[in-house]
Amino acid sequence: MAESGKIDPMHQFAIEPLFGTDHLSLGGFNIAFTNSALYMVLAALVLWIFVIGGMKRELVPGRWQMAVEYMTGFIKNLLIANIGDKGRKYIPYVFSLFMFILLANLLGLLPLGLFGLHPFTFTSHFTATGVLAIMSFSIVLIVGFAKHGFHFFSLFVPHGTPALMVVPLFFIELVSFMVRPFSLGLRLFVAMTAGHVLLKVLAGFVINSANASPLLGFTVGSASFILMIGISALEVLVAVIQAYVFALLTSVYLNDAENLH
């Protein structure tokens, strides 16, 4: 990566098989345990430990239990606000989704590079976000058709549509509906990728300017460094907001499936 002082801001997204599992396969498909898979496992583990701390089930909660209950209560309120009381049954799914994405985003932001490790954000890969988006979209389709049958198609014809407009509107609404999994998955992927690229580009400025001359290092380098501090804080916010947006949109789409209009 650092040949002749060149810094590749995209290298952080490279997937590398770990522990010599390059050729691990299942049914002909490669399932190598990569750095991406490692961070998925880490996110699941951290979430598991976090929730175990909330399992004391005390009437007067401690801090940890309070924190876990705050998160489940947050998801519960989100679902009830969007879907109504019927939204309670989606708490397990949306909680899992939100916390998994949130921890993936935050773990990827940890400054582990300081210790020579290679942090990785698997939510910056559309292969991962796409699976999550397709999962949410499939649940919407399954719930919608199971609950309303073919009446679910009335979702594409809003109330009070003039008869002449029914057919064109149906196709417009159908397209906007079919775009949902893409927008859901790509939004997270793009937001994560962009933030990490920006941080690495600025870090490259700091290193390259300092290498070029002390004056440049002092001016361009320190300015970039200050900017990086601000953007790192912004990235933490983006990590939370993107997880929230994913959960929020999932619950909005689930509302369509539960209640039609």
């Binding site: 290298h11 997937i15 898979a37 699941a44 929730v51 089930r57 292969t127 991962a128």
Partner: protein
């Protein structure tokens, strides 16, 4: 961009591990643990609202008891007042009756005494008549030497007393 450049080699591994880890998250944490955590929170909310309701109900009961107490207080006050008034009027009536009885007694005694006085006075008058008649007869006998009859003397005395 490794996301696109590496997609052919990595998509299956990405999907496999994501499904595995998210499956663990959803089935173990989401379905196994979150409902318990949420259940604890819901139970606490239910307990808090139940306690609040109970407190409200107790408050309402206290108000009711106070109102009841006030009503009963007023009632017993009125009863006591009535009892007092009745006792007063009873006592007044009793003393009136005793007074009347005493009055009647006194009146009877006065009447008896008056009757006795009348009798005594009548007796005295009769005595006086007899004494006067004797005196008159004595006087007549001394002056005229005639022995006036008892009858005449008495009549003369009576006439003199009546005029007298």
């Amino acid at each position: 961009m490794p996301q696109i450049a590496q997609i052919a080699e990595t998509y299956s591994s990405q999907i496999f591990w994501l499904l595995l880890t998210f499956g663990f998250v959803f089935f173990v944490i989401g379905l196994g643990m979150v409902p318990k955590v949420q259940g604890t929170a819901d139970a606490r909310d239910a307990k808090i609202s139940g306690d609040l309701d109970a407190a409200k109900a107790a408050f309402a009961r206290a108000d009711e008891a106070e109102a009841d107490y006030k009503v009963r207080d007023a009632q017993s006050r009125a009863a006591a007042q009535a009892l007092l008034a009745k006792a007063k009027s009873d006592a007044a009536k009793a003393s009136e009756a005793r007074m009347a009885a005493a009055d009647a007694d006194v009146a009877a005694k006065i009447a008896a005494a008056e009757a006795r006085i009348q009798a005594a006075s009548n007796a005295a008058i009769a005595e006086i008549e007899t004494v006067a008649a004797d005196a008159a007869r004595d006087m007549v006998a001394r002056i005229s030497g005639v022995n006036a009859s008892d009858e005449a003397a008495r009549n003369a005395v009576k006439a003199a007393l009546a005029h007298g």
